[in-house]
Symmetry: C2
Subunit: 440 residues, 2 copies
């Protein structure tokens, strides 16, 4: 008998690799935070002596979801300004509110709320872009959730830095501080090609090569962005990045609603990862990312919620479903982006975008045990003809019963976290009162 | 002091009429199933002596949601065949499964599951189209939920009727049986212009006029449907119905993804109600209903989930959000279909389509107390800058805490319905085993 920390026995098990597989009567064995076996129940129980055996007889076990693009602290802006176009939303509402209110306390309280929301909805890893990434990293580490923290760069003075030198030096300091941390990684996060100049972008490219980290940026989010670039630089943003040599497997290009055929080929050739944010793109009327075409061309497409200011939640189960349904609608073809494709986008493809696919993104022996259990014994997910279909097309975030990151339990079906929740909500309500000018 | 049965005191109250209004510190007073007052809390409590006072301090109260198009019993086909186009899905999977399995037991068990799912997710009224409408009516009446039951007509022998005479006579028998029932109404439900011939459609028009009931039909769901009609009859389906005099405020036209400008004007002129089913249309790749244009033209647009076979749930909160986001995406304009518009589509517009807007669809004195409470004290709906935004853009079905139909409590925050649920799930699982050829 081998020693193990934990054996989880769900009714259904979806490892994501191989794609589309749904196992029954299988268990996952965890030791020292990693998956050491994935085997038929009798074999797992017969070969491993575990401290804990967790039976989940109505549940499906999947890899932890990876939110490949968010601005976590913006939960505090949730619902502040809806039904507006991107530029007006940013320039007239979000940027003024950020200038007035955002500091490290805001980022701490907003990220705390976001992390609570993400864990409860089955997200075990998030790729963040926001001010005060030191605080984001601290909250994620404290809450034991996995995060890729953005070394944000923008050609504008903010609470985080007064100029490019400071953005870079403070970002790299965060990188150095968490270099050996098992849960925290970093990426350069130049906001966009319209908010970061060529010189800065080239410095970031060089630094990203040296530090071996991804570059995470908004790209081709709206037609106006592309048009403006053509007018100002004579090039579409992707062309600008290609000229600067930024197109590579390190690039995480977010949104990408405006793409021609040549650009799709270019992305595939350079191994660029695209992060699709369907709810945000729809809500802001930004356009539709051609997901089916990107996947057919071999581009790695991950999924992100964007910030709660424009989504308005951080629910990756919902985002998967939007991704599958919207792709079918846009392509006029219900066969594209199947349930299995959508789940892969929300797990292994996200891991690949972050350069973490050797260690997370699927339930495979040797990877970290980042895992999520969903209880399908709810009216909207009965009966269960196909467990994978239920996860993508019917399940809701409240059906997430258990969450583990590197084998550590962050949510357990039978335990309450009401007290912790109350504190987070109280701080969020205090910010709401301040932002809305009420004294509560 | 006036007598009352119940006073509900939520933190926020959204009556839907007037549009967009969010009240705080207001209460709803109910007597004999109807709303008798909607007033500031002090006034309500000071004027009415109620048997029950229900305080919901973190909650928003809205009118019960109206699912304006579903096939309730198809919950038993949930997830049976995904990622397929409409015709293949129907012809190769659903119709054969229906021919083999559907009988009144199937309809009872499937509708029972559907009603459980709908009540839990805040739907208080559904407009159904399926075989054995007598059973659908019986289940709805037993469960005390409001339903408009479809007197289905299709030119094909099924378990429900062998020919048109029998479809009509059996349907009218259901109509007569429930004529005086406070919760059950009926509509003729000819499946579509491709499954019901001209002669039958004209008889239905005459009968609908005599019985003063709506005509509920699938219309312009796909480009192929329209194309086939042009080839076979030399007219688009809407033209055929116009020729037959079927376009009127009694017509409930479902899907409508293929519409030209003249048709939109025609619908507005004749007061036809459109039921938009965004999730189903996307999932089947059927096309996009031009909701923003329809609303701008003054057409009444309601919302439906369609059946769980193609959605895959009956969650009207989710459907509202898809409706708002998809309309913005399709129009390329985030200002269209605001949160308030989406909530109106899911409530008062649905009531108008069913001819029930004098009695349900908004929280107005004199109407039935069909009401739903949502608990916003959850991570994804904090903080609350705007309660209406939270309902449409962030809340999930599990946040529905209380449901009333005609003042009767069908779901209560503090009461469990686990036992009832177990029985419904057991029957669903038995059908699943039969359909999938397993002996469980």
């Amino acid at each position: 008998m081998h020693a193990a920390d934990c054996i989880v026995i769900p009714r259904w098990l979806i490892p994501v690799e191989p794609a589309g597989q749904v196992l029954e009567e299988h268990a996952v064995v965890v030791r020292n935070g990693r998956i050491v076996a994935l085997a038929p129940v009798a074999e797992a129980v017969g070969s491993f002596a575990a401290e804990t055996v967790i039976e989940r007889p109505n549940h499906v076990l999947i890899p932890g979801l990876i939110n490949a693009h968010t601005h976590a602290a913006m939960t505090l802006f949730r619902g502040l300004a809806d039904d507006l176009p991107l530029h007006e939303w940013l320039a007239e509402h979000i940027w003024p509110a950020e200038a007035r209110w955002v500091d490290s306390d805001f980022v701490r309280d907003g990220t705390d709320l976001a992390v609570l929301e993400m864990i409860r909805s089955g997200t075990t890893c998030f790729n963040d872009m926001y001010y005060c990434p030191d605080t984001v990293a601290q909250v994620a580490a404290e809450r034991s959730v996995r995060a890729c923290v953005g070394m944000i760069v923008i050609e504008m003075e903010t609470v985080w830095a007064k100029d490019i030198e400071q953005y870079l030096s403070r970002g790299i300091k965060v990188h150095d501080q968490y270099r050996e941390h098992p849960l925290i990684s970093t990426a350069f996060a130049p906001h966009s090609t319209y908010a970061v100049g060529d010189e800065t972008m080239q410095r970031i490219r060089t630094l990203a090569d040296q530090l071996e980290v991804p570059i995470h940026t908004h790209l081709h989010e709206t037609a106006a962005e592309v048009q403006q670039s053509v007018e100002q630089f004579g090039q579409r943003p992707i062309e600008r990045l290609a000229t600067m040599g930024v197109l590579s497997p390190q690039l995480i290009a977010v949104h990408m609603t405006q793409l021609n055929r040549e650009e799709i080929v270019l992305l595939a050739e350079h191994g660029v990862s695209v992060v699709h944010c369907p709810e945000s793109n729809m809500k802001l009327g930004s356009g539709f990312c051609p997901v089916a075409e990107l996947l057919a061309a071999g581009v790695n497409v991950a999924l992100g919620t964007d910030g709660a200011g424009s989504n308005n939640d951080l629910d990756m189960l919902g985002e998967m479903r939007y991704a599958a349904l919207l792709a079918k609608g846009v392509a006029g073809d219900p066969k594209v982006v199947t349930a299995a494709d959508a789940l892969a986008m929300a797990t292994i493809n996200g891991a690949r975008a972050l350069g973490l696919d050797e260690s997370i993104g699927s339930l495979v022996v040797g990877k970290w045990a980042d895992m999520v259990c969903l209880d399908l014994a709810a009216p909207a997910t009965q009966p269960v003809h196909h467990a994978l279909s239920q996860v993508v097309y019917s399940a809701s975030r409240e059906q997430v019963s258990d969450v583990w990151v590197a084998g550590q339990s962050l949510l357990r079906d039978d335990e309450s976290s009401a007290q912790d929740e109350a504190d987070v909500f109280e701080r969020a309500a205090a910010w709401q009162a301040r932002l809305d000018g009420r004294n509560e």
